[in-house]
């Protein structure tokens, strides 16, 4: 699906919503305005008609995007966070990996790294949402962070609320927000090691404790259901 979102600014409707081929003019107008002001910095976008708008900008234009959006009336700061697109090395379904571990089967091929709406090139992205109370619409902004330089400009000058969100993102993903006044850990104890929201951060309790559901994994003998007493 994410392949559908293109690298240019044209809007494409996701396949599963192809039935309602309406064009959301209001959001398209906002997108055009943003593109006009930010120029080449807008590297990807996606509109779900009547619902939401995603815009991906260049990393360098990240702070500017906030200012432009604010000027467009998107004054209400919703949230800011990060995404790690790496498929989890510990299995995707809740039980997958544990099953494998116990039964000793080889680890599955890691799934390919696929980004979501508005595309992307890197493992890490920051994303944020702004809202315009007057227009009753929100915009999701995304920006890529290259693996070798996990840093991006701060929004906390434009939106005061971004201050804490950036601190949270920084400690959860290990990003750096340039120009942030006080980028220290927010939630975790000062001596905490690791970045919990990265996909390769293991939840140890799940690794060490056997899953009780594992005890009887072989399927019940066939034809059993017809004799189950509960039926």
């Amino acid at each position: 699906m994410s392949q559908l979102s293109s690298a240019d600014t044209t809007t494409e409707t996701p396949a599963e919503e192809a039935t309602e081929v309406e064009i959301d003019e209001r959001r398209q107008a906002v997108l055009d305005e943003l593109t006009a002001r930010l120029g080449d910095a807008v590297v990807g976008s996606h509109i779900r008609p009547g619902d939401d708008l995603w815009v991906r900008v260049e990393r360098a234009a990240w702070p500017e995007a906030a200012q432009v959006a604010k000027a467009l009336g998107y004054t209400w700061f919703d949230f800011l966070s990060g995404i790690d697109w790496l498929p989890s090395p510990f299995g995707r379904d809740m039980d997958a990996q544990v099953d494998l571990q116990v039964s000793g089967a080889p680890v599955k091929e890691p799934a390919p790294l696929v980004q979501g709406y508005a595309g992307g090139d890197t493992r890490f992205q920051v994303f944020a949402r702004l809202y315009s109370i007057a227009a009753g619409m929100g915009i999701h902004f995304k920006a890529d962070l290259p693996d070798d330089e996990l840093s991006i400009g701060t929004w906390s000058r434009t939106y005061f609320g971004a201050d804490w969100h950036e601190r949270e993102t920084a400690e959860m993903f290990g990003f750096h927000f340039e120009g942030h006044p006080h980028l220290v850990k927010l939630y975790l104890p000062a001596d905490f090691q690791g970045f919990p929201l990265r996909k390769d951060f293991p939840l140890l309790a799940r690794r060490v404790r056997p899953w009780p559901g594992i005890v009887d994994v072989e399927p019940m003998p066939g034809g059993d259901e017809s004799e189950g007493e509960g039926e």
Binding site: L188, F192, P196, L204, A205
Partner: protein
């Protein structure tokens, strides 16, 4: 050096002291998470009114408390504060662990930041199950604690290490 510690106190007096402790349990007001609200309901809601049982939820400082109800999630960041709170209470002191979080980590048993059970930090006298336990369940826990207090041997309790349960 107290008489009680040495176990020289006459039985009947001992009994009296135990009864007074049983009926006068000043509970420290400190809530941690959702369970704290149910604890608050047990303490403050006229429907449950824990004061009837002699549990007085006045003290705001651990120095005047006999009982602390650990009601809610204890995180690793908070753990030192919990230990300190407990240690700052004067003996004899009691701990009720309320709710799955405090008992064992509960819903957050696999989290990276939650302590898996408050009994890893401080000795617990009564465990109240639930998520959150109803206020009445807490009352039952308190009754159980009172039962224990009434029958406990203070010389034992005050001599060696605190009774570690479970």
């Amino acid at each position: 050096m107290g008489l009680v510690e040495s176990g020289k106190l006459p039985k009947s007096l001992n009994k009296l002291l135990s009864i007074s402790r049983k009926y006068s349990i000043w509970a420290y007001q400190w809530g941690l998470a959702c369970c704290a609200i149910e604890m608050g309901a047990a303490f403050a809601s006229p429907r449950y009114d824990v004061m009837r049982l002699g549990v007085i939820p006045f003290p705001a400082s651990p120095r005047q408390a006999d009982l602390v109800v650990i009601a809610g999630t204890v995180t690793d960041k908070l753990a030192p504060a919990v230990v300190r709170l407990y240690e700052q209470m004067p003996d004899p002191k009691y701990v009720i662990s309320m709710g799955s979080c405090a008992n064992c980590g509960g819903p957050y048993w696999d989290s990276y930041s939650v302590t898996k059970g408050v009994d890893q930090l401080i000795p617990v006298d009564v465990y109240v199950p639930g998520c959150p336990p109803r206020p009445e369940a807490l009352l039952e826990g308190i009754l159980l604690l009172q039962e224990r207090i009434a029958h406990e041997d203070m010389a034992d309790r005050w001599k060696g290490e605190p009774i570690v349960v479970g």
